[in-house]
Amino acid sequence: MAAANQPLDASIPPDEIAERRWGELIIEGVIRVAGISSIVIIALIFLFLLREGLPAFLDIPLRQLFGTRWYPIEEMFGLLPLLVGSLIVTVGAVAISLPLGLTTAIYLGEIAPPWLREILKPIIEVLAGIPSIVLGFLGWIALAPLIQNLGAPTGLTAFTGSLILAYMSLPTIISIAEDALYAVPKEYRDGALAIGATQWQAIWRVVLPAARPGLMIAVMLGIGRAIGETMAVMMVTGNAANIPSLGSGIFFQPVRTMTATIAAEMGEVAQGSLHYSTLFAIGIVLFLISFAINALAGRLVGVEGLRRSRGGML
């Protein structure tokens, strides 16, 4: 009895179970150090991109770097065609996925009967799980011939990439849009219905505007996803590093994105060459773009909101 009572001794003891304390101090120390690991990692990523990519910014005249010719064999490193390629594919992807995603979110939240929603949501979640290489493969082997049959000179176009990217970002857009719509206070909607609006009018006039910040996030994360996607885009966009001619056919020409350029050419360059560090320089550009998108989105909803939205996209 007395022995068992000892730890409960009457006087307030200073640390008597010293060994346990040491173990805990070590564990808690490790946890605290791990806590800042993400800051360290992001700093390391930027550092190593800079280390390998900086020579490109230093050795290539800026005018050439922002030139219109990407022709590494002749030491022409104009990034413009790649930027334009990424831009076109991204714009196309968002133009397709945003209306599709938003409408589907409205359908799921407002119109679909519960049993159907229970079936549809897992199907959409499955889409988020399909590896991009598999979608790229299908785009390459099945979708591209289909598009060529529609009359394009080739099936490997910016549009093909946009289409695949659009479907890849749909799960994100739908889930964020659903959350945004869901967050609109019920009173708004009821108020609109009470004064005689149809359900559709209530959605269009009241719910959508109220959900706007959330929808903006959906767009921005969709853009981030589209700009950063590599394999699917590389396989289906034709990889032609030209600036496409303007006009209605702009989406139906082959393009080459920044990501695809890195993936396709890194394997063939000599380490330390100018071409090599230019590919890293493209990586820096991508890194900064993703940073900027996060900063913008974070300004809209704060880090907390962004973290929650990211949850859907991760």
Binding site: I45, I133, R307
Partner: protein, 281 residues
């Protein structure tokens, strides 16, 4: 057009659009299954490729993906879970915490190909690991950290606060409280996050392009400093780099990859629902 007509039209349009979204997903999966299923056999999974990959199986790539998934787990979990514990249980409401959260959100947004560049610059070249399993695992592990951290943190925060208070009031230290009253109940959520992260890593191509993946390597890796084939890259290679590749093999690889990745999602969902059912509070 009357208001009621507008409403009816809207319902029709919305339904049609939802169909446009959902039907292709089902078609894609059915198509891959239909095309790839004939290929699926024990021999396909366990034999190495032969004759310039145009015959034989996918064993080295399959095994490589399994090894890389394990490697990713070893790199990612300790760090991610410790970070999640830190954020949920130790971090105060201060500038450092906000910085950490910013960093995680930004890590989540970095394109996977940029992780590949980072892995090349730091692990392959600077640390001298070469194109190797360890370099690939480190790269993939770091890439999966944000998803594991945020699911794990959510799971930890979902444990009712009163369990902590009661535990502390009974003389438990902070760590004992976490160890005995928080982590056991957060485990299902943490495991879900881990599996989701691994599923993502198993299907990724861009981060392994320059850090580990081998074009064609019939032998199996002997150490973590060897290269290995991996399924996603293998699919890319046989689809675009090898002329005269039989379509069936391509679909077979796509199907195996799809099955692996989707089974991760499935298991994660099962773990979550199963554990929720068993929960007492």
């Amino acid at each position: 057009m009357s208001r009621q007509q507008t409403h009816k039209l809207a319902v029709v349009v919305l339904t049609a659009v939802a169909a446009i979204v959902v039907i292709p997903i089902i078609l894609v999966i059915l198509y891959v299954v239909w095309q790839g299923l004939p290929m699926l056999s024990w021999a396909f999974l366990t034999e190495p490729p032969r004759n310039g990959m145009t015959e034989g199986g996918i064993m080295p790539a399959l095994l490589g993906t399994i090894i890389l998934t394990f490697g990713t787990a070893i790199v990612s979990f300790p760090l991610s879970i410790a970070t999640a514990i830190y954020l949920a249980e130790y971090a105060g409401d201060n500038r450092l915490t906000r910085w950490i959260r910013m960093a995680i959100v930004n890590l989540a947004g970095i394109p996977s190909i940029v992780y590949g560049l980072f892995g090349l610059g730091m692990f392959v070249l600077f640390l001298g690991f070469g194109t190797s399993i360890i370099a690939g695992s480190l790269t993939l592990g770091i890439m999966t950290m944000p998803v594991v951290i945020s699911t794990a943190e959510e799971a930890i925060l979902a444990v009712p606060q009163q369990f902590r208070t009661v535990s502390l009031s009974l003389g438990a230290s902070r760590w004992q409280t976490i160890r005995y009253q928080v982590l056991p109940h957060a485990l299902p959520g943490i495991i879900t996050g881990i599996i989701l992260g691994l599923g993502r890593a198993a299907g990724e191509t861009a981060p392994i392009l320059f850090t580990v993946a081998a074009f064609y390597l019939p032998e199996l890796p002997r150490s973590i400093f060897d290269q290995t084939m991996a399924l996603p890259y293998h699919l890319y290679v046989i689809a675009t780099q090898v002329p005269g590749m039989p379509l069936q093999i391509q679909y077979g690889v796509a199907l195996v990859l799809l099955l692996i990745v989707l089974s991760f999602t499935l298991v994660a969902t099962l773990v979550r629902t199963q554990m929720r059912r068993r929960r007492e509070w």
